[in-house]
Symmetry: C2
Subunit: 491 residues, 2 copies
C-alpha cells in the first residue's frame, strides 16, 4: 500500500519556487469562496509517521491561506473533561463550522493505531473502532462536509535518516523524544497496522491520500494541490456519490402498528399514586447519590406527541434529584452556531460528565419524527439518522452513560381533551399554538414515524420505554419505575 510512497519522490527546488505562489493564490481564492458561501465545512486530517512533515504541512497550509478562517487543532493527552465522555466527543467539539477549514493534527485514527501497536489491543476491538470511524466519516460526508485524509509516509530508512537529522540540529532536536524513537522501533508493526487501518477506511466518500514525506517540495505541492482540486470540485457542486439508504419500511399490510395495539386504558388511583410517587422519588434520589454514579452518567430522552405530558413527567423526576446534578435540555430551534454543524452536534455538546444526569425534553429523535413528517429533512437524511443515532447512543453507553428513552403514548382523543383544557387555563395558554393543531392533523403520519423509530432504535443498550399516558398519574409512575430499573441495572 505504501510502495509508491517509498520511491523517493522529489521536486526540483526551482519548480517548487515557480509553482508555490500560483498554488497559494488559488488556495486563498478557494478559501474565500468557501467562506463566502458558508455551505459546508472542510476537514483535513493530517496523519502519518513521525518525521514525515506533518507539522510542516499544517504550518504551511496556515501560511498559504488566511489563518483567521482556519481552525487548527492538535490532540494530545485527554483532559479530565474529555475522559468523562465518549472518545469522539473531543473531535465533535473540534469541528470547524461551515465555511471554515479545520485542520486536525492527529485525529480519530491516532489512538486506535497506537493502542493496536503499542498497547496490543485486540484485533476485534481495533476493527470495531475502525467501523465506528467509517460511520462517523460517512455521517460527516452526508452532512456535506468536505473530508480530506492525508497520510504522510516515510520508508524505514528515510524515517531513521530524518529522525537523526532532526536530533542533530539544535533547533529541531526537541521534536524527537524517547516516544518518537520508541515508535521507530515498532516501525514494521506500525506500517502493518496503518495499512490495515487505511485499507479499512479508504472509502469512496472519504479516501486516503498517501503522500511521501521525505522531500519538502514534493510533499507540500502534493498536499496543496490535493486540497485545491478537492475544494474546487466541491465548490462547483461535485459531491461524492453516497450509496442511497434503504427505502423506508412499508406500513404493515394488516394496518396494525405497535402504538395502535397499545393498551391506553391503564389508570392509577390518586391515593396509590401519591404513595408510589414518594417511594419511587426516594429510591431515585438514593440511586443518583450512589457511589457507583461517580464514574457513570444518566441520559434521559423524553419524546411524545404534543401534550403527552413530557414536562410534568420530567418535573416528577427532577423533584427527586439534587438540582446540582441534573440539567434539563428543552430542545427547540437550533442556534446559528448549531446550524453551522452536523445535525447531532448540538446534542453532543450537551453530553454530561460523570455523576451527572441530563434530561432531554425532545431530542435527536426530532429528525425521524417532526423533520420526517414535515419534510424538513430529506428521506436520505432521516433514513441515515437511524444508524447515526444508534451509533451515538452506543458511544454514550460505552463511555459509561445509562441511556433511558421514554415515549409517552396518548390517544388522539386524549390529546384533544388536553388541548381544550390548556386553552382554558390562562398560564397554560402559551403551551398551545397553531402548530400544535397542525401537527395533530398529521397524526397517522406521526404514528407511523414513531413505530419506525421504535423498531429501528430500540436496542439492548438503549431500549425505548413506551408508556401509556392517557392517565397522567399512571404515566408518571411508569416512567419513574422504568427509570429506576434502568439506572439500577446499569450501575
Amino acid at each position: 500500500m505504501f510502495e509508491s510512497a517509498e520511491i523517493g519522490h522529489k521536486l526540483d527546488k526551482a519548480e517548487f519556487k515557480r509553482e508555490e505562489p500560483k498554488l497559494r493564490q488559488r488556495l486563498l481564492d478557494l478559501q474565500y469562496e468557501l467562506l463566502k458561501k458558508g455551505e459546508f465545512q472542510t476537514i483535513i486530517l493530517v496523519n502519518g509517521v513521525d518525521g514525515a512533515g506533518k507539522g510542516e504541512t499544517v504550518n504551511l497550509l496556515n501560511e498559504w491561506m488566511d489563518p483567521r478562517h482556519i481552525q487548527t487543532r492538535a490532540f494530545g493527552a485527554m483532559t479530565d473533561i474529555e475522559r468523562e465522555r465518549p472518545e469522539m466527543w473531543r473531535f465533535w467539539q473540534a469541528l470547524a463550522p461551515k465555511g471554515r477549514i479545520g485542520i486536525l493534527f492527529g485525529s480519530w485514527y491516532t489512538d486506535p493505531i497506537l493502542r493496536r501497536v503499542i498497547g496490543h489491543e485486540k484485533r476485534s476491538e481495533f476493527e470495531r473502532r475502525l467501523m465506528g470511524i467509517r460511520h462517523f466519516e460517512r455521517m460527516l460526508v452526508s452532512e456535506g462536509a468536505l473530508l480530506l485524509k492525508f497520510w504522510f509516509h516515510l520508508s524505514k530508512k528515510s524515517q531513521k535518516k530524518r529522525l537523526n537529522e532532526l536530533s542533530s540540529h539544535k533547533k529541531t532536536a526537541w521534536r524527537v523524544g524517547p516516544e518518537e524513537w520508541d515508535h521507530f522501533k515498532h516501525y514494521d508493526e506500525f506500517v502493518d497496522v496503518c495499512e490495515d487501518a487505511l485499507r479499512e477506511t479508504s472509502t469512496g466518500e472519504a479516501p486516503w491520500e498517501i503522500i511521501e514525506g521525505s522531500d519538502h517540495g514534493y510533499r507540500s505541492l502534493t498536499a496543496g494541490r490535493l486540497l485545491e482540486d478537492a475544494l474546487a470540485a466541491r465548490l462547483k457542486g461535485v459531491r461524492p456519490v453516497l450509496s442511497p439508504s434503504a427505502p423506508p419500511p412499508a406500513p404493515p399490510v394488516d394496518g396494525r402498528t405497535l402504538l395502535a395495539s397499545f393498551d391506553y386504558k391503564r389508570k392509577l388511583d390518586r391515593g396509590v399514586y401519591a404513595k408510589k410517587l414518594v417511594r419511587l422519588q426516594g429510591h431515585l434520589n438514593l440511586l443518583t447519590r450512589s457511589k457507583k454514579m461517580r464514574d457513570r452518567s444518566v441520559i434521559m430522552v423524553f419524546e411524545g406527541m404534543d401534550a403527552a405530558g413530557k414536562g410534568s413527567t420530567v418535573r416528577r423526576i427532577t423533584q427527586a434529584i439534587d438540582a446540582r446534578f441534573y440539567r434539563v435540555i428543552p430542545v427547540a430551534a437550533p442556534t446559528d452556531e448549531e446550524r453551522a454543524q452536523p445535525y447531532l452536534w448540538r446534542f453532543w455538546r450537551q453530553v454530561p460528565g460523570h455523576g451527572r444526569l441530563t434530561i432531554f425534553d425532545r431530542s435527536w429523535y426530532g429528525r425521524v419524527l417532526v423533520e420526517r413528517v414535515e419534510r424538513f429533512a430529506s428521506e436520505f437524511d432521516w433514513m441515515r439518522a437511524y444508524h447515526e443515532i444508534n451509533d451515538f447512543e452506543e458511544q454514550l453507553t460505552r463511555s459509561g452513560a445509562i441511556v433511558a428513552k421514554f415515549w409517552l403514548a396518548i390517544t388522539p382523543a386524549e390529546q384533544l381533551r388536553r388541548f381544550k383544557a390548556r386553552q382554558k387555563t390562562s398560564y397554560k395558554r402559551f403551551k398551545i399554538t397553531d402548530e400544535d393543531w397542525r401537527n395533530r392533523k398529521r397524526w397517522p403520519h406521526y404514528e407511523r414515524a414513531v413505530n419506525d423509530m421504535i423498531d429501528r432504535t430500540s436496542s439492548d443498550l438503549a431500549p425505548w420505554n413506551v408508556i401509556a399516558s392517557d392517565d397522567k398519574l399512571f404515566a408518571r409512575i411508569e416512567a419513574l419505575e422504568g427509570l429506576c430499573e434502568r439506572i439500577e441495572s446499569g450501575l
Copy 2:
C-alpha cells in the same frame, strides 16, 4: 449584620401550605414572561453557612418553576481547563443566557471567603478580590441582568443543632463531612469575614438579602417572594439606578492628538526588512517554545483603521508559530448565543489555556471604537467599557497571560491609496465594501475614539503599542519586535 437572622424566624406550617401554591403559580408565570421577552438574564446566587438550607432552596426553586429553563450550576474543585484561566472564567461560562434563570450554588464569593478564613489570605488580597467582584456585578447589572444575592444564615447554636440533626439521619448524614465540621470550628471567624464581604459588596445595584435558614417554611417563602418581587418589578421595567459614568473627555483645546502627532514617514528598505523578518520570526518561534510558556499564554490584539494591514501583519506572526499553538480569532458580528450574553462574553470564551497564543483580529475594543462612533452603543455603555476592559485585561494578566495590543496607525491618504489598490486586485476586492467607504468619512471621529481608547486602556500590565503603518514593511517589523519584547519581558 446577621442579628435579625438569628432571632428564630418561623412560619406556621398551615400558612406555608396556604401560601406555597399561590407563590409557585406566580413564579411560574413570571418565569414564562421572562422567557418570552428574552431581554435579560436572571442570576441567583445561593450562598451562606452550611446547613442553612441552601441546597433545599435550590431544589425548591427548580421544583416551583419550569426546570427546563433554569440553569443550575454548582462549583466544586476547578477542572484543569479552569485552572489555566482567570478565576472568573468558569463563572462567565456558567452564565445563563437572556430569558433564562441561572442559579449559582456557591459563587464567586466562596473562594475569597474560604481563603481568608481557612487559608489566612491577607486582608489586602481579600479586599482586592471583593473589589473585583463589585466591578463584575456592576457590569452584569449594567448589561441588564437581574442579580439576586441570597445569604442563608444560622446562629452558631442553630448551626450546631442542624449539623447534628443531619448527621443523625441515615439519609442526610452524607451531607455533613469533616469539611463541614471544620468550617463549624471556625464559625466566629467565618461570620466576621462574611460580614466584611457582605458589607463591602452590598451595593445599590446588587444588594445582599440575608435569610434566616433554620425554618423551612420561613426560608423558602422568603426566598420565593424576594425572587417574585424582583422579577415582577424588573419585568415591569424597573431597573436599579446606576451612577452615571463620567462624561467623555473633551477634545484637547489645541486640537493636537496622539495619533495626529505621530510620525507616519518611517520606512524600511526591503533588503533590511527581509533580514530582520527572518531573525525576528526565528526569535519569536524560540520564545513560543520556551519552557516558561508551559504555564503562560499570550493574547494579542490587533486594531487599526480599515486597510491598516492587520491581516498581513498577523500572517507574519503566525508564520513563525507552530499552528498547533495559536488561534486567530477574526472578530465579526456576534452569533445569537453571544448576543444573549454580556458584551465581553464572546471574548471570555476564547481565552486560551497554558502554552497557547490567541490572536484577536479586532477585539473587545470594538465597543469604544466602531460601536461608539456609529452609535451602536450608548454613551453609558461605551464609557463603562473602558473600566470593564481594564478589569478583563488585568484578570488575564494575573492568570499568567501576556497581553500585547497593537494599533496599526495609518494616514487617510495611505488608506485611500490602499482602497483603490484593493479595488484593482481581483482577489482582494472582497476586502473593500461600501461600509469601508462610509467609515472613512468619519475619520476624525474614529481618531478621537482611538486617542481616548489609548489614553484609558494603556496600562503597565497591558500597554498599547502604536505602530506607524503607512509603510507595511516597517509596521510588520515593529510589531514583531514589540511582540518579542513583550513576551520576553513577560516570561
